[in-house]
Subunit: 304 residues, 2 copies
């Protein structure tokens, strides 16, 4: 089960009642944070998330509203007792190896930070069976979208195992993908006792960007697509395009094309006081849409 | 009249109910901000201050809790319409010329920023008759205290002017420090018609530092001394000394020695949930002490 939360949903600047856009993905007490704008450490607290569980930070791009909170958050992590035994990984687009040390010059940390400058298409392992992949978006600076996949065990078939007369003591190994040799000499493969594979539990996070068909490919079939909604009103199309951002409707069309199970919109313009106002319109395009609110959470269990 | 506000009073990390320590000093619609930690732009908003009035930022030192909010705040200033016609000055201790560009690499600004790396004892002009001076404090990194003085006109003596038969049309010029020649050829100097000089309106701001006798000299006679109170409990003396900070009582003794008119304590440890708890104790040392609260304000009119 993958827990996903948007501690903040605003773009450009923090507001008194809306923190900056970021995403927290937690699995078995280990967490990934995507983006860390000014105030994100407070947004995490307000959402009831535990900073101490943080393993990896992914940065979409180096604009202040996505990264200016990093130094403060990492210092707080140090003050809460993190030490050299527990390194933190920070990954992001090209420039990361220069930008992160520049930003952290005001934050002497008591634990190691590993930097990973990603290339589009890279996949890196997270905790357990998690994989994180990235794609290049279209923004004013190099900007990446991320997808997190949690591999799930296939469905085991007790019927098949019994038909093959496999003693129960071997079932767990076989379910875990191992082969076993029985006392009568036969070798049983995992696939001999598997009913069917299960798709991973998956989340995609793409902001800030112009709408691109490649996003639908990248987010193909995800359980949760998190995408940009700078404005809900289609009249803002020109301004949004000029700043290289996306409208609700553009992200909803991508969610439909991707066959996503659900869509959460985020990164609202500070000028949009009530992001819910445009929800009904966008549900005409993609019914299972939510307008993100600070602290919105879901437990993804996957399907099938 | 000098308006002074502490939009935030916390040290080390922003809390849900306490912003990071900073100081806003405003005179005739022109403002100086000392320090800018994570969230300071929100703290200013909550305190009802107008970011657009900002002329100068002074940084005490380059620890995240004093400077990590700079990029976000300056971006917001740019988004609110500030342009190349209205530059901003940022001044602070050695290292500033390297640190500020590193921090602002995530914040492309549409207006010029002038950097001034100060040496201890430097005095620089602010808006109108304001002067800002600095001293070196004792912290773990180079750290400056600041003092803001607003020069006031002396007290004019109508009696002296009348005794010298100076026509009223010349009084304003003479009060402003100019000399005038009368129609009978006599030259009247400003000091001929001045009752007495008036001391400037003055504020000092010294955090983070070990207590030093030099602070009392620097803050001599100020209308408002703003000083560090990491802890109120004297039992914390050892920890505070180790981290190179100050206790309430240490700052109160300096205020007494300085002959300050009043003392505001700030930069409270996040561990101190109720900074007011130790107020009565410290008033035994310096009666006119306030424990700063986010948004505390005063209009200083000077004395005499």
């Amino acid at each position: 089960m993958l827990s996903v939360c948007l501690p903040g949903t605003g773009g450009f600047m923090p507001l008194i009642d809306r923190w900056l856009t970021c995403c927290w993905i937690e699995y078995q007490g280990h967490a990934i944070l995507i983006d860390c704008g000014e105030g994100t450490q407070l947004a995490l607290k307000k959402a009831g998330l535990h900073l101490s569980r943080l393993d990896m930070v992914f940065i979409t791009h180096f604009h202040a509203d996505h990264v200016a909170g990093l130094a403060g958050m990492l210092l707080s992590l140090g003050n809460s007792g993190r030490d050299e035994q527990k390194p933190l990984t920070i990954a992001g687009p090209p420039g990361l190896n220069k930008m992160i040390p520049a930003l952290l010059v005001i934050a002497p940390l008591p634990y190691p930070v590993h930097l990973i400058e990603l290339s589009p298409g890279d996949m890196i392992p997270g905790y357990g069976d998690i994989t994180i992949s990235c794609m290049a978006l279209k923004h004013r600076v190099a900007c990446y979208g991320y997808r997190v996949d949690l591999k799930r065990k296939p469905v085991f078939s007790p019927e098949k195992a019994e038909a093959l007369q496999v003693p129960k003591q071997f079932w767990k190994k076989l379910h875990n993908g191992e082969a076993v040799q029985l006392s009568d000499g036969r070798i049983i493969l995992s696939e001999d006792v598997i009913e069917r594979a299960r798709t991973p539990i998956s989340v995609s996070y793409c902001t800030d960007t112009l709408p691109m068909p490649e996003i639908a490919d990248f987010a193909k079939g995800v359980d949760l697509m998190i995408a940009e909604g700078m404005y809900g009103d289609d009249c803002m199309a020109e301004k949004v395009a000029e700043k290289k951002h996306s409208l609700y409707s553009q992200s909803a069309r991508l969610a439909k094309e991707a066959g996503a199970k659900r869509l959460w919109l985020t990164h609202f313009s500070p000028a949009m006081q009530n992001p819910e106002e445009y929800l009904e319109n966008v549900r005409m395009i993609f019914p299972n849409t939510e307008v993100g609110k600070d602290g919105i959470k879901i437990e993804l269990e996957g399907e099938g």
